[in-house]
Amino acid sequence: MGKKSVIPFGPQHPVLPEPIHLDLVVEDERIVEAIPNIGFIHRGLEGLAPDRDFQKYLYVVERTCGICSFGHGLGYVESIEGIMNVEVPERAKYLRVVWAEMARMTSHLMWLGFTADAFGFESLFYEAWRIREKVLDLMEMTTGGRLIYSVLKVGGVLKDITPDMQKKILDDLNEIEKETREMTRTFLDDYSVKTRLVGVGVLTKQQAHDVGACGPMARASGIVCDMRMRGYEAYADLGFEPVVSQDGDSYARCEVRINEIFASIELVRRAFERMPKEGDLAVTVKGNPDGEYFARIEQPRGEAIFYSEGHGKPALDRFRLRTPTFANLQALCETLKGAEYADVPILILTIDPCISCTER
């Protein structure tokens, strides 16, 4: 029995991309308990909903976070369309899937970079971000923005992907796939990387269920929990299958995210194949939202809940956004228990924390 002491971790720490504070109760080198402390960047974005028109508020929701921006926008329009019973044109559905999957690729590639940085593999970090840059360029070409796309609207999308763009995307995706495969060989097979990931922060299936984990965190522990299985937008037609791993350690989480990149590439290809060649991009939406709706979307980090409640006024009475990191906080505390102090940075990163989403 060693002496217990409390080590504060964060909010400023070289490994943390965003501020989160953890009080780590440490016994010798092992962590006994971790208490998360958030609230450094709470902006009260949910509170802006009652002051703004529901169409205008979409742009606020999209700017909750730079990485899951498309996911936030998609969830918000889904929730409004759910209340107002809007049927989105077929082509718009496929375009949304294309953008959502490309956004997932950028997010996962970014995460791979951060993780490489956390275990001290600087050149691997740059390699991941170099590939991500190519996806960002494709996004910029099609939507006009690199991170915040603003192509959604209640009832459809604003921009179209022309056949030229489609060809460029498909060509670039081949290249991206090849390069990602080359890079991920290091993540999955390299000896030094494996020593940092295998068996670190194991979360069993039962534990993952008990802490309410979602997204890649839950899927790495063998729980099949992917909101895309609900078949929103065009996912039902695309034959979507979730990526699951069984081990529940950091390596499994890494594996799940890597395989999801390839799954996303495949989904984009399939979406282009099955997309109607022509068609409306949006339907006109009339009236104001009256009712409530829970929209569930699979964001890169996991299941996000968008709850909108309106009472016939132009502005919503309540908008609520539950982000995946908020649900995974408890999972983080659980994985930290019993871990070595030196593994803390990598464990914080394996939940893919997005604190600005979490605090909104």
Partner: protein, 167 residues
């Protein structure tokens, strides 16, 4: 060997290939078409309706109808493009090229040219005159109608008056 040197081929490849980054200030950036950089206005086509002001999520725009100005605080603008969508005469557009940083947030004001302002003032005066004429006509018509109604009501009231008294 195969387990430890997994990254070596990538490093070797990178070592002998051209840099992926651009020599930025020397080589300018090529923005793709349709990039959302900043808002531009063709001020002389603007009708000062204020739709953009009402649609802006951050409230960074303001319009003065009388002076014929359109003001934007570019540092508060989030480049969402909603004003461009809402503009009824499509004088707003969102074009590539980002806002350069400055020390302070400053507002930028666009002024309509004197000819346009003069034409607008004339048009307004004409419309005002027309409206006045119409209003006078309407008032006269209304007055006549009211008088007729009053006369009719007086007749009716005389009949209906005993009814409420019973309650």
């Amino acid at each position: 060997m195969s387990r430890v040197m997994k990254f070596a081929p990538v490093i070797l490849k990178n070592l002998f290939s051209k840099p992926v980054t651009r020599q930025y200030p020397a080589v300018p950036i090529q923005y793709p078409e349709g990039d959302r950089g900043h808002i531009e206005i063709q001020i002389d086509r603007c009708i000062s309706c204020g739709m953009c002001v009402r649609s802006c999520p951050t409230g960074t725009l303001s319009v003065d109808r009388m002076k014929g100005t359109w003001t934007i605080n570019r540092f508060d603008c989030v480049q969402c493009g909603y004003c461009v969508l809402k503009c009824p005469v499509k004088c707003l557009s969102i074009v590539p090229g980002y806002q350069v940083p400055e020390r302070e947030k400053t507002a930028q004001t666009y002024q309509k040219s004197p000819e346009v302002l003069k034409a607008e003032a004339e048009k307004r005066a004409k419309q005002a005159a027309l409206a006045k004429e119409m209003a006078a006509k309407k008032a006269a018509a209304l007055k006549a109608k009211k008088e007729a109604e009053a006369a009719a009501a007086a007749g009716k009231a005389a009949e209906a008056a005993p009814a409420p008294a019973e309650n």
